[in-house]
Symmetry: C2
Subunit: 235 residues, 2 copies
DNA sequence: AGCGGAGGTTTACGCCGTGTCAACCAACGA
DNA sequence: TCGTTGGTTGACACGGCGTAAACCTCCGCT
């Protein structure tokens, strides 16, 4: 299970051709899980340390602090991840694996009707961002300082977008989507509006509760996306 | 007194320090538009240089590059702004002044009906973020490395939020708001959804055109926020 | 027993950006 | 002529990143 959930793996938007042959000559861990250095347990401890360090320091993260927190020397970190960007790239994958979203997403997709699907999705979304926000912010803002990191993050977001598209397709097949909408438009809106910044602006900046976020965003999206029949519970 | 070490205890980075109580007594950044240093023209050149430098380099901005671009020494920059954060704080105000949004906003608010108001707002929004995005990203991600900068950026966003609330109030007074909405909820949604990340995700990541962004977001918000009568043009 | 390699550790160094300091300097006005 | 304004040059400490080299310590193998 874990990450790939093959649903709608079309990948229309992006395309391979990830400008490879960048600058490094070593083995800056290509996406695959091949030939990593050292003890996987140490690697995991480093990633967890990086996670909590980011949660506390935000972008002010230093590699020395991560290593110390993991109870390991700074050089060990370089041996495992190559450089700062390598660590962050690995963190993207790690966050994929540690929070296992498969079951939660399946539960959302199994929702009985349109409005409850959207509400379940927004609720999952809120708790997701509550866990991930600091890391997501660092990744988001560091993505253009390093090509590999940018690619990893973008790929992560592409996957997320595909997941949301899957939700929209489910709604569409049930005939719950309002007539004005194409799947593409609706998926875009859902993805963009469910991005972490919307959650952060409301819940962090404006101090809304998660419940309020869920209620208001669910209402907004249900009203905007669903047909009248779907909203009134007619199946 | 000369060449002594340790006299500069200014360091200390940021530390955890639960920063509640927010912004001290209000003397952190030498008063408002009072005693700035040096030639205002130089100051403006530096700010413009910083702007275009950010537009090109993003977060990889260096003070040396800004100074060089402005045709001035790096120290001049320090004389004018104190430090990096000071420059960014000034940039927030500068961006306020240089792009004068007053007229555009007035035009939006004068829109004849609800849907066209929302569409005009989204159109303004799109062109705004197209200009401001790189700077906004840097500011957004640097806001927690410095208290004064965070305060400045937050204040800027608070103002923005108030503007959107004004729009919602206008709609409410006209009776255009759907009954389910409170002004507060609607203003929050409008503000959050109009934030730059939504625009960026759709227009940059998913390569939507501005027109498509405007159309889809207008439809979404109109459907969600406005009453049936307002949407169908009945006044 | 002895060897080797995996998985590190210490120490050291070069690079670069930030921030500070001191000295010097051109123009300009009283 | 002096002094102030608005800078310039040059130097430096500091800290984080990235690399390198030497060393150390188990563990498995023969």
């Amino acid at each position: 299970m874990s990450t790939n959930e093959g649903s709608t793996n079309e990948g229309s938007t992006n395309e391979g051709s990830t400008d490879e042959g960048s600058t490094n000559e070593g083995s800056t861990d290509e996406g695959s899980t091949g030939g990593e250095y050292g003890d996987p347990a140490t690697r995991t401890r480093l990633l967890d340390a990086a996670w909590t360090e980011i949660a506390e320091q935000g972008a002010g993260l230093t590699l020395g602090a991560v290593a110390t927190r993991a109870g390991v020397s700074r050089q060990a970190l370089y041996l495992h991840f190559g450089d700062r960007a390598g660590l962050l790239v690995a963190l993207v994958q790690h966050m994929d694996e540690s929070l296992d979203l498969g079951p939660s997403l399946a539960a959302v997709q199994a929702a009985s009707d349109g409005p409850s699907l959207i509400e379940a999705l927004m609720r999952l979304n809120a708790s997701f961002w509550r866990h991930v926000l600091p890391v997501a912010r660092v990744l988001e803002s560091s993505q253009d300082t390093d090509d590999a990191l940018g690619a990893a993050w973008r790929e992560r977001m592409t996957f997320r977008q595909a997941t949301f598209r899957g939700m929209i397709e489910t709604l569409d097949e049930r005939g719950d989507l309002a007539v004005a909408w194409t799947v593409d438009d609706a998926a875009g809106v859902l993805y963009a509006v469910a991005h972490f910044d919307t959650w952060r602006e409301l819940v962090v900046r404006l101090a809304w509760s998660d419940d309020r976020y869920v209620d208001v965003m669910s209402r907004t999206l249900s009203t905007a996306l669903l047909s009248d029949q779907a909203r009134s519970g007619v199946t």
